[in-house]
């Protein structure tokens, strides 16, 4: 009897040893990556501290004297994030249905849409911003488009994966009532994943608001433009004032999103 105990424990010990070996390997990879990224260059890190302190001291106290000229760009930023998220959701839901293995009409469509979503996700929104500025000119419009298209890549994939995890039993039950395949899609599939879709919408809105604050750097509207010009002129006290305002708005947007999510539970 205790022989079989020892056998089991030995097998378990072997497993544990394998796991710790893998952990050591991962740790090694991390250390190498940190070395390549020059994280261990202590001298350089220490040398950076004084300049950082200098910038910090120059940015206090924050200079809010120009606040009136920031209101419109801040409002633009907020509008950009909401419009961009809405546009993204409008496109992402149908794409998500096409990109889910259990609801796609054809394997080719699945592959094509998945590939498209991957492509959209792999282009950073700043690059998208530059492309859309080139296409439609300066202003808020290219910012909205850039946020929306980048979001579609991420949200579409998320929705597709959520649909793939939907309970097939429920879908079967709806089909058994004699519902058409369109009805099955709406009432069997989408009604199951609506809570997740609402969740991801709010998360994405929070994310897009943070992302939209830098859109102005490439001329795509919003507070980022003011931030960039203050930085260029090395007016660090203005930079810190704008950053504080952005922090305030990000906090507001995040807590609004959180309370909406809490309400939908």
């Amino acid at each position: 009897m205790s022989v079989s105990y020892n056998k089991i424990l030995q097998k378990e010990r072997l497993k544990r040893r394998k796991l710790s070996f893998q952990l050591v390997l991962i740790a090694l990879v991390i250390v190498v990556c940190a070395y390549v990224s020059e994280l261990f260059d202590g001298q350089r890190l220490i040398a950076g501290v004084p300049s950082l302190l200098l910038i910090f001291s120059e940015s206090i106290p924050p200079d809010f004297s120009d606040w009136q000229s920031w209101l419109r760009p801040l409002f633009d930023t907020l509008a950009m994030s909401i419009a961009g998220t809405a546009l993204a959701m409008l496109v992402a839901v149908p794409l998500g249905v096409l990109a889910a293995r259990n609801t796609t009409p054809h394997v080719l469509v699945y592959q094509l849409v998945r590939g498209m979503l991957n492509l959209l996700r792999s282009i950073p929104e700043l690059i998208m911003g530059i492309l859309f500025v080139a296409a439609v000119g300066f202003g808020v419009l290219p910012g909205v488009l850039a946020l929306a298209f980048h979001s579609i890549g991420m949200v579409g994939k998320f929705i597709a994966e959520t649909i793939e995890h939907a309970d097939p039993g429920v879908i079967e039950a709806i089909r058994a009532t004699g519902a058409s395949s369109f009805q099955v899609m709406i009432h069997g599939v989408l009604s199951q994943v609506i809570p997740q879709i609402c969740d991801v919408t709010l998360y994405r809105w929070e994310y897009n608001f943070r992302a939209s604050t830098v859109m102005g750097m490439v001329g795509a509207g919003g507070i980022g433009f003011e931030l960039m010009s203050a930085l260029r002129l090395m007016n660090y006290d203005e930079v810190s004032a704008i950053l504080l305002l952005i922090l305030l708005l990000v906090t507001l947007v995040d807590s609004l999103g959180a309370s909406l999510r809490e309400k939908m539970k």
Partner: protein, 248 residues
């Protein structure tokens, strides 16, 4: 041996009284079944015994000593093992890993970061063998059937070497043959280890077969407390005829 003194539990800021002030004692080695419909307060009473529910008033005492500080509570929980309806196991871990979690009360927080002692591993395997699952020790729990998972849950409780065993609807999600298997396992363990055992159930038939003592609850109040023979049809009717007061 373990006693509730005028203990009451009120949920939702005073809206729902789950358990009216109750004084009850569970004696050493006794196999008690808590009977009642869902929402009658069985789980609340059971979970008050190891203070998973915070009492609104009243106290829990063991052998006359009140459980009123963190150290006493930890000690009390170590001596009072619990089995849950939904097993509440770590599904992606092995059965052995889950059972070993039952020994955590015997380790300091820091020590438990290191692998557990060999004797405890042997003990865990012994408990798995007792519930008939030695050959599944290194299987992931989510590969096991419902009845097997519940037996892993029992092994996790056993490895605590408890004086009191609490089981919250342990057979509610099992088929009848599995349910009888689990109930007779609990009954056997109670006798074998002289453990005070409290099991909540909603089926009268099971209670009649296995219980020494039956405590019946209706709307958060004990309406019957006695041995199986004293449980008349009238009382059974009373337990089940009361309209539900909403679930908790």
């Amino acid at each position: 041996m373990i006693q509730l003194n005028k203990l009451s539990v009120i949920y939702n800021r005073g809206i729902l009284t789950a358990l009216h002030p109750t004084t009850i004692e569970f004696r050493r080695g006794e196999f008690t079944v808590l009977l009642g419909t869902s929402g009658a307060g069985k789980s609340t009473l059971l979970r008050s015994l190891n203070l998973l529910n915070t009492p609104t008033s009243g106290e829990v005492s063991v052998a006359g000593v009140c459980i009123n500080n963190a150290r006493a509570l930890r000690n009390h929980r170590r001596n009072t093992a619990m089995i849950f309806q939904q097993h509440q196991l770590m599904r992606r871990q092995t059965a052995l890993y889950n059972v070993l979690a039952g020994r955590l009360g015997y380790y300091s927080s820091l020590r438990s970061l290191l692998p557990m002692r060999e004797v405890d591993r042997q003990l865990a395997l012994h408990c798995l063998e007792r519930v008939g699952l030695l050959d599944k020790a290194l299987e992931r729990v989510d590969c096991l059937s419902g009845g097997q998972m519940q037996r892993v849950g029992i092994a996790r409780a056993l490895v605590q070497q408890p004086k009191v065993l609490l089981a919250d609807e342990p057979v509610a999600s099992l088929d009848p043959s599995c349910a009888h298997q689990v109930m007779s396992l609990l009954q056997g363990l109670c006798a074998e280890k002289n453990m005070t055992t409290v099991v909540s159930l909603h089926q009268v038939e099971f209670a009649k077969i296995y219980a020494q003592r039956i405590v019946a609850l209706v709307e958060g109040q004990v309406i019957f407390d006695g041995c199986v023979d004293e449980l008349t049809d009238d009382i059974v009717k009373k337990i089940y005829s009361t309209p539900l007061l909403g679930s908790y």
